[in-house]
Subunit: 253 residues, 2 copies
DNA sequence: ACTTGACCTTGACGCTACGTCAACATCTAA
DNA sequence: TTAGATGTTGACGTAGCGTCAAGGTCAAGT
């Protein structure tokens, strides 16, 4: 009335190693163990195995499967959540495919993978007044000397990061997600980390409270100043950035 | 003229751990090492790092990136190959999404994740005559007793595997890929493994040569017999199966 | 009874690309 | 001088098994 480990492996279309693994992690125990340590499985175990393989085929992780099997009422919930994850992955893939195609074209045309001056139209010095007014002349002097001291490569790198952040912000805002969603907050985290790269600002050397004020203040400036707002998709996108940064600052700084 | 590990990490938007990792695997060595063991990176290293991060962002693996950096002429080729992989992943995701949605509906409606009689319309005994004629009365007797000795669960499992194989074959055939392609051969491999689950046939207990003849013979039967052919999408699909099995048998059995 | 050969067991390493301690050395600014 | 930031080299963890390694067990044939 029961089968050896190879038997069910073949019946269910999997391997004995997998069954031993499921035993190890407690996902599917053999229904009986021989005096010699051999694992034997009954019909009930086979049904469970089928379910496991079905769910695994849908892409669910083993811990989730375990939980679903414990309480089948959760199945619909777990699957719905998983569906969301799958859709996000699909989006991510679509974006990557577009990027790769674009890069292929660039490589075919230009030759070099990445020219040094990929990023133009970014002039750090144009914000001199604002920085002085808000954070003091001293801050700007330090910040500016830091910027002028950079090599072309470093400047390019800096531009790339800021541009990437801008793109991600715009994508997030137009995706219709909430500013306090995990995705938006992840970008906010990167944004703040990026800010800490500017010496002389509260973000780089300040205590938690100062950084909080600095970040929220910046968010407001992004909305108010169209020169900044355009980096984030205009006033609307900048508003999203401001809201997201505000939430992030309050929760983490 | 060079930066510490934290400096470039911040400049490039990554972490020092990542840079140490790249050093360990030889992907990006520091341009200079201090007497104290500290890593220092030059502008050239920064440019390399930028390229690495760009390619990584496109989803390429580190070994591939390493190779592309060694010979930039390969970039377009590597990217094109990667693009294919991305598209396949996209397809897989699309199928998974469809399956998950379908399963959600089934769970909502039916309650149970998998009822025992999910698979109907499959009658093992209907092929009695063919089996006897081709492989001898003895073979059928053994095969049939084996089948009748199965529990409902086991029968269901068997049906599921055969049905799954049928679906995969149809998908492969309609995808327009070649019978000797890696994907088709992978299904063929599974098909043969599935066949070995039938005791009394050459596939289960035979020597290599017998199995080869058996498998190729089966392939022909799938085409000739509409009752089998319909499991593989009709005569055309069965033809694809036959060709794939033939290639597999010749190369592996 | 003895030998094969198939099948079983428990470890334990490998894979991707790092994150995350741990324990300890070094540099920097007050 | 000393605290705090930053650096170093291990080494473990991650998801889900594949893949040896080394050694017991079992069924069948001689």
């Amino acid at each position: 009335m029961d089968w050896s480990i190879q038997d069910i492996a073949r019946i269910a279309g999997t391997t004995s190693r997998t069954l031993r693994h499921y035993d190890d992690i407690g996902l599917l125990k053999p229904s009986r163990t021989g005096h010699n340590g051999y694992r034997y499985y009954s019909q009930a175990a086979l049904v469970q195995l089928q379910r496991i393989l079905l769910l695994r085929g849908l892409g669910l992780g083993l811990p989730v499967i375990s939980q679903v099997l414990d309480d089948e009422a959760d199945a619909a919930k777990a699957l719905t959540g998983h569906l969301e994850w799958l859709k996000q992955e699909q989006d991510r893939l679509a974006r990557q495919i577009a990027s790769v195609m674009q890069t292929i074209e660039a490589v075919k045309g230009g030759g070099e993978i990445m020219a040094e001056d990929m990023f133009n139209g970014f002039d750090h010095t144009q914000y001199k007044d604002e920085v002085e007014e808000r954070w003091g002349k001293d801050a700007y002097a330090k910040g500016d000397s830091w910027w002028r001291g950079m090599g072309a490569d470093e400047k390019a790198a800096w531009k790339q990061r800021s541009q990437q952040l801008g793109e991600d912000w715009i994508a997030a805002a137009s995706a219709g997600i909430a500013p306090d969603s995990a995705e938006a907050q992840a970008i906010a985290k990167r944004h703040v980390e990026w800010l800490t790269g500017i010496p002389g600002t509260p973000a780089a050397d300040g205590k938690s409270g100062d950084v909080k004020a600095y970040v929220t203040g910046l968010g407001e400036m992004y909305v108010a100043d169209p020169r900044f707002a355009k980096n984030y998709g205009g006033a609307e996108g900048a508003g999203f950035v401001r809201d997201a940064l505000k939430v992030y600052a309050e929760q983490n700084l």
